[in-house]
Symmetry: C2
Subunit: 208 residues, 2 copies
Amino acid sequence: MARRPLTTPRKDASQERSRATVDALVEATARILVKEGFDKASTNRIAEVAGVSVGSLYQYFPGKEALVAAVIERHQQEIMQCVRAELADVMVQPVEKAVRKLVAIAVKAHRVDPTLHRVLAEQIPRVGKLEKVATFNHENYVLFRTYLDSHRGELRVDDLELASFVCVTSIEALTHNAVLHQPRMLSDEAMQALIDDATRLVVGYLKG
Amino acid sequence: MARRPLTTPRKDASQERSRATVDALVEATARILVKEGFDKASTNRIAEVAGVSVGSLYQYFPGKEALVAAVIERHQQEIMQCVRAELADVMVQPVEKAVRKLVAIAVKAHRVDPTLHRVLAEQIPRVGKLEKVATFNHENYVLFRTYLDSHRGELRVDDLELASFVCVTSIEALTHNAVLHQPRMLSDEAMQALIDDATRLVVGYLKG
DNA sequence: GTAAAATATGAGCAATTATTCGCTTTTCAC
DNA sequence: GTGAAAAGCGAATAATTGCTCATATTTTAC
């Protein structure tokens, strides 16, 4: 078998300068996605906006898809960072308190760079490497499942798998649509009303 | 001002042969979307698969976006055709019956060509002409809002706008994810369990 | 039949986009 | 300081795609 040509794009950036380059490229991709949309995000354009040459781009990313994937990953890291701390103490709360908190957290998560979030949700074709990236929700699902397990006594649902699916899907959809598509719900009072109702929806379901 | 050149793509297909061409193009677009994905759907490829020339394509469609839009429209027509009849009698049912029926209808709707539905939901960037096409849900929203209005007496929600949003969003998300992402729920019993739970979720919320 | 209108063709041009590679500059290790 | 490795450069090339137009075929109307 022939050895892979040396021209294969390398991946790791060991020096600080190169880490800055990688950063600039990801940041530029995000900015273009938000300001100009997905189809304007060509490799040449990204490099230009990042202030680096295309050559450098291909040194760290095999193509545009990888850039977009990096943007998504970074965005999810940001969300998780802002959310992880609050998740811990939800686990030991009774159902009503826990669900209310979870909904609030979901809203908060969707308010981290909502414009980017919207573009990622609406403009990025989930193909190739981007296919699995939407697995974000699975983590939530497992966590919620665990919570239900340990509070089984308070609940009137028998199929916890199904219940987790119902709750996580509903909370995610409600907060997502509210933040990204319902301008009317952006005020603090409106959002509080949504949190109240979403909580009532889910708690009513769980406690029969 | 200069007159638009005569080369502007025309739109209507008056003869039967041309209607067949248009049909073949839309059908080919759908097939490519499903089998090869969005980015493989170039105008040349679409024409090739349809068995017509690119020239003919541009005679009826200004570009690829219009083709995709046509596919979406056709798909929604198919769904509506299969659903409209059932919708009518929901309006006069009491809450529990009505919601259960609505959920069942939503499931049915998502089972009309689910593969295409999935591609349309996940791979098509909502830009340009495709931006508004996702307004599908708004129709559901208005209809449901009307239903709540005329059954206000049975309900324990005060903000009907919010309630409509909560119910429609939840039902749509649950059925969509169940049909398209949860292989485990495809069996008839599993689907019945989902319908039961989704109904309980929404009815519990509406009747306090 | 025949002329006009409608429809179909596809090679080919234009424009865009992805990607490479020979070369320069910077940084690191000693 | 010096050599080697890392990082950066960008014009040039390759590949893809969108789209037109001069020409050919089919249909319609009379």
